[in-house]
């Protein structure tokens, strides 16, 4: 399958965030998107998922050549798009088990029904793989989870749902080294010709565990440079200023949100 983002302009509350973004991801490829805080990385992931707050001004998002802009959030999910969110949501009163069961059932054909025994085994296995601890099934969805647990729970859901394209939005934040390694291993195991991965991060460290085929740099709402692993090294050492200088990008909008929230080396 192919996910193609074409000349995408997106605004939120009348602020233009994505400024003509282009990206093409084929099944089997892993893309890393790096860029300073506030540049629109999460916006890109959210708008592909169909978050209602973001407005597509122009451009298109195509799945195997067909626009998904008119598809609802749940339809996009069932078409194979997955987003591991930067900030997973807590849903009190809804157990992980009921939630994932419903998510799987909704993908089944009318005459199929869930083989519950097999489902439980798969859930328990995924839960062990991600070291979620016993009793996850009956805990409420993300409620009272630590930051790291929430992130691992996103990967668990990805494992259970087998998406065609997965955005992992800062899946590395809030993870210690061991958890990062665990998440990296689990995601790497999921790699296949049927999965296109889009890793959003500002750290090199995630990319030590999941090797990308392409590295994109995103600044001011568009992808300004695409390269390979060499690019990561340079960003890790020098930050983004050299990219801006090289491409003549001005820092017109230094907004407070971009200050100090990101501990990466600039």
């Amino acid at each position: 399958m192919t996910l193609e983002i074409k000349d995408l302009f997106v605004s939120i509350e009348n602020n233009l965030i994505l400024n003509g973004l282009n990206l093409k991801v084929n099944g089997g490829e892993t893309h890393a998107i790096m860029g300073p805080n506030g540049t629109g990385k999460s916006t890109l992931a959210q708008v592909c998922m169909g978050h209602p707050s973001y407005k597509v001004e122009s451009g298109d998002i195509l799945l195997d050549g067909e626009s998904i802009l008119d598809k609802s959030v749940d339809e996009r999910s069932r078409l194979g798009i997955f987003l591991a969110m930067q900030n997973p949501i807590e849903v009190p009163g809804v157990t992980n088990f009921d939630f994932i069961k419903a998510a799987i059932q909704t993908r089944m054909k009318k005459d199929e029904h869930l083989r519950i025994g097999r489902f439980i085994l798969k859930f328990e296995k995924a839960s062990q793989d991600l070291k979620m601890g016993q009793g996850l099934a009956h805990r409420f969805l993300n409620q009272g989870f630590s930051g790291g647990e929430k992130k691992r729970n996103e990967i668990l859901q990805m494992k259970m749902l087998n998406p065609a394209f997965a955005f992992l939005d800062e899946i590395d934040s809030g993870l210690d080294v061991d958890a990062l390694k665990l998440v990296g291993q689990n995601v790497t195991e999921l790699k296949s010709q049927d999965l296109g991965l889009i890793l959003i991060t500002h750290y090199q460290r995630l990319l030590d565990y999941i090797t990308p085929d392409y590295v994109h740099i995103m600044i001011n709402g568009k992808i300004v440079k695409t390269g390979n692993l060499e690019l990561i090294k340079r960003i890790d050492q020098e930050g983004y200023d050299w990219v801006k200088k090289e491409l003549g990008i001005e820092d017109e909008d230094k907004k407070p949100y971009s200050l100090g929230t990101c501990p990466s080396k600039h």
Partner: protein, 300 residues
């Protein structure tokens, strides 16, 4: 009399209709007045019962009793109930009204508590019809206390008008009200929730919380919380959070492929869970769960 399936095999069942009374419990019934003797769990079933006289429940000192009251009706009903708790009684009362077709229900419940008595009320309102419910708790004796937990799911174009009054008439009395309100379709939930603390009834506590979700644009929830307090040395407060379903929670579930109906019904069921978990009898719990999920699933 047609006893509802889930109550049929209950021990300690007391059932009324306008012509017969079934009494499987050690309870004396005289002129609409029930006095509880042995036992600590009773099921009361009222089948289209609308006696002119009020139905009176009497509990003597030191008794510890759980009462599950199910009212079934297929015609409109008006009834008065009173509960008299002698000193040091521990009483838990569950109430639920069931109707298969749209009818009206007017019910007045009065609870009178002597010293050291405690009342736990669980009101599950999933009634299909118009309801006018008045619930008055009189904390007459010192150190008496009442906790009221109420779940109300309104559907169709039903109007549920509920009034809860707690009168703190002695020192060291405590009351806690928690209402979970869900309005679906064109239903209207209209609540008046009041706590009264008279002068001199010091060291009392009076708290209420009202939470509500309106599921459609034409759903309505109105809550009028009131605290009338004429005494300085007390603790009191109220909180209210009434609004739409949480957008972010909804988006999260949708992003995993659940349809809007599935997602909303999971979120609402989750929201009702803290109430449902308080119901100790498994059959009753299942009954309330199925009633509420039938309403929610139909029109989430």
């Amino acid at each position: 009399m047609k006893i509802l399936e889930f109550l049929k095999d209950k021990e300690n069942l007391i059932a009324f209709d306008n012509s017969t009374t079934i009494n499987r419990a050690d309870v004396s019934i005289k002129n609409n007045s029930l006095t509880f003797k042995k036992g600590n769990e009773f099921f009361v079933f009222l089948d289209n019962y609308d006696a002119y006289n009020e139905l009176e429940f009497n509990f003597h000192s030191q008794q510890k009793i759980k009462l599950f009251i199910i009212v079934y009706q297929n015609k409109s009903i008006k009834m008065d109930y009173s509960f008299n708790l002698d000193d040091s009684v521990e009483l838990e009362v569950f109430t639920n009204f069931v109707s298969r077709r749209k009818t009206n229900n007017i019910s007045n419940f009065i609870y009178n508590l002597k010293e050291n008595s405690s009342l736990k009320l669980l009101n599950a309102i999933t009634f299909n019809g118009n309801l006018d419910l008045n619930c008055t708790v009189n904390l007459d004796g010192e150190k008496s206390e009442a906790t009221i937990d109420l779940l109300n799911i309104g559907g169709f174009s039903n109007k549920h008008k509920v009034r809860q009054d707690v009168n703190h008439q002695s020192k060291y009395t405590e009351s806690y009200i928690n209402n979970w309100l869900i309005s679906l379709d064109n239903s209207v939930l209209d609540y008046s929730v009041s706590g009264f603390i008279e002068k001199g009834k010091e060291f009392s506590k009076c708290f209420q919380s009202n939470k509500g979700i309106m599921l459609s644009d034409s759903s309505q929830i109105a809550v009028e919380p009131k605290l009338y307090i004429d005494e300085y040395n007390v603790e009191a407060g109220h909180g209210a959070a009434i609004g739409q379903i949480d957008e972010l929670q909804l988006y999260y579930l949708l992003s995993r492929g659940l349809s809007e109906t599935e997602a909303k019904s999971l979120i609402i069921s989750g929201y009702t869970l803290p109430f449902i978990d308080k119901i100790s009898d498994e059959d009753i719990r299942r009954h309330v769960t199925s009633q509420s999920s039938r309403l929610i699933r139909r029109k989430a």
